[in-house]
Symmetry: C2
Subunit: 338 residues, 2 copies
């Protein structure tokens, strides 16, 4: 196991796992159980891109320069402020003789593990990227360890669409699992018109739940209503607990947080019924705010850290996209805007 | 509901809950549903005290000055670095006519909600505290909202002991609940010789689990072995994932993290079997490190944010202390050392 999780790629501090490392060795030469991918596109995590964009007031050149500096310094695209990364798409370049991943040279794949633990080298200075979008055309090389997750891209989805779906595919799979633990639950999704949010709503409804989508403005409300995946749609500032609780109405059995801004913990807790579950998928979630918030509200709710890995999650999400065309449309509209 | 969670005590930013607020109004005059407590002692959260102590290299005067500054500035003892607080003990001074808490003037109580949301005024400059311990003798006033949790102190426990137990009483109650969801589970507790850790081990064993205590050195191992609440005891650095997994051995069904240092997420995940549960009780837990770490390890584990509130948690913990004298001895030894 030791080598298969990438311990040998950790330069500092030695002994931690690649995700926790400050700096990785991104050397393109592979070990026996590794795979090298020729990078075509990065998909930055929403919280990470938002932080970079706000820091640089949307200045694309400055954002690009900082991404290059992070990757150059750390050997991975690991935003030191948000702690988050994203994913990438590329073509398999070389497969070590002992790789268990089941891919072959020439496969176009998406990595389903975070960029925060993926050794990455950029060779084109990101010259094809204007710095104004989470989707980053890029040339370079990335390394996958033995214990990793990778998805071969489906033929019927554009690569950028597949990447966007894979990036959030843990959300619908985990939502499905939690919904099936309750009898006739109501599921509220904060950020229901977004990528992970719309997939979570669709998954909840497929699993038999009543669904409530909370969105930030009338434009999102209209597109979510048109998608028909929420039984109710309401507008609230997800950072305002009282507003969120009022928008959800009768407390939800399950509340899923898909809003990538800090400060959504308390609204989610207030909006959830005793005995219910809150699933936090936003990387902007604060652990102490959630733990102390629930305590401070005397709220008997189960709070889950949204694990990005559920077995079969990628196929589950792609299947959902195929079965619910309205969700596919939401994704495509969002990609067109980005 | 609006006033009972303390919204009217929030000075900035307006509209958030007291825990999320930067600054609270600690005016000792109470509203109709509030309770005022005459403070006798604060119990700082372990992560908070450790941060303050390390920042000031153990200089008691400097630690005391910073605690006074935090309380003076924020109107609550809310460590801005760790985001955590602690609890307090005192005597009920005045009860608003509409308070639902069921306490009366003169009751000696412990607050079971965090200091991070408790309006607090210190009036003695903490002159009886040397700054060298988490237990802080103090004079002043604190406010409890309508929706709050408070425990009247048991007669058979010293107040400092009761406070230390109440501070971590969510851990045994939640551990008990999770253990009962599995058939014959093994429970590993990182930090098994500490306060929350020893209660979690005792609760797990009472609920029928096999228990493994992970501790940091031979001294802790000896005291945990003597307590007899762990079927196995092993030494590991909780921040070293490979060491933790080796110490736990056969992966645990449930892993409970009670070590108040950053960087314990990956070891806990690696040490847990597929389908298992990791419960994070340390306020030093990083949400992104946990979420991305599980994904990066392709680990199908449920990860819980340790909710400090479970109905009946205070009585459950006190009962455990009475039934397992060895746990009481561990607590008393720890208090004597502090």
């Amino acid at each position: 196991m030791t080598s298969s999780v990438g311990l040998e790629r950790v330069l500092e501090p030695v002994g931690v796992l690649p995700q926790a490392a400050w700096r990785l060795d991104a050397d393109p030469s592979i070990r026996e159980d590794e795979v090298r991918v020729r990078v075509e596109r990065l998909n930055l995590d929403a919280a990470s891109y938002r932080q970079l964009s706000e820091k640089h007031s949307g200045d694309g050149d400055a954002i690009r320069a900082e991404v290059l500096e992070i990757v150059g310094t750390r050997g991975k695209m690991h935003n030191p402020v948000t702690g988050s990364g994203g994913m990438l798409i590329g073509v398999v370049d070389e497969v070590g003789p002992r790789s268990p991943l089941g891919v072959k040279v020439g496969d176009r794949v998406a990595t389903l593990v975070s960029l925060t633990l993926t050794p990455l080298r950029i060779t084109d200075g990101l010259s094809s990227w204007d710095g104004r979008s989470e989707q980053v055309p890029a040339s370079g090389s990335a390394i996958l360890f033995g214990r990793s997750i990778v998805g071969v891209l489906p033929d019927d989805l554009a690569p950028s669409l597949a990447l966007a779906v894979y990036d959030v595919c843990g959300a619908p799979a985990l939502t499905d699992r939690i919904v099936r633990q309750y009898d006739q639950p109501t599921v509220a999704v904060l950020g229901g018109a977004g990528k992970s949010g719309s997939l979570a709503l669709a998954a909840a409804r497929m699993a038999g739940a009543r669904t409530v989508g909370i969105v930030r403005d009338e434009g999102e409300a209209a597109s979510l209503r048109a998608a028909g995946i929420a039984d109710a749609v309401a507008i609230a500032d997800a950072r305002n607990p009282v507003e969120v609780a009022a928008a959800v109405g009768e407390p939800a059995t399950i509340t899923v947080v898909c809003v990538d801004v800090p400060g959504c913990e308390h609204g989610a807790i207030l909006a959830t019924a005793p005995g219910g579950t809150v699933v936090f998928f936003s990387m902007a979630t604060s652990f102490p705010a959630a733990a102390l918030g629930a305590e401070g509200l005397a709220a008997d709710v189960t709070m889950l850290i949204g694990n990005g890995y559920v077995p079969g999650h990628a196929d589950f999400a792609v299947d959902l996209l195929r079965r619910v065309p309205a969700v596919r449309s939401l994704f495509e509209a969002r990609l067109a805007r980005d």
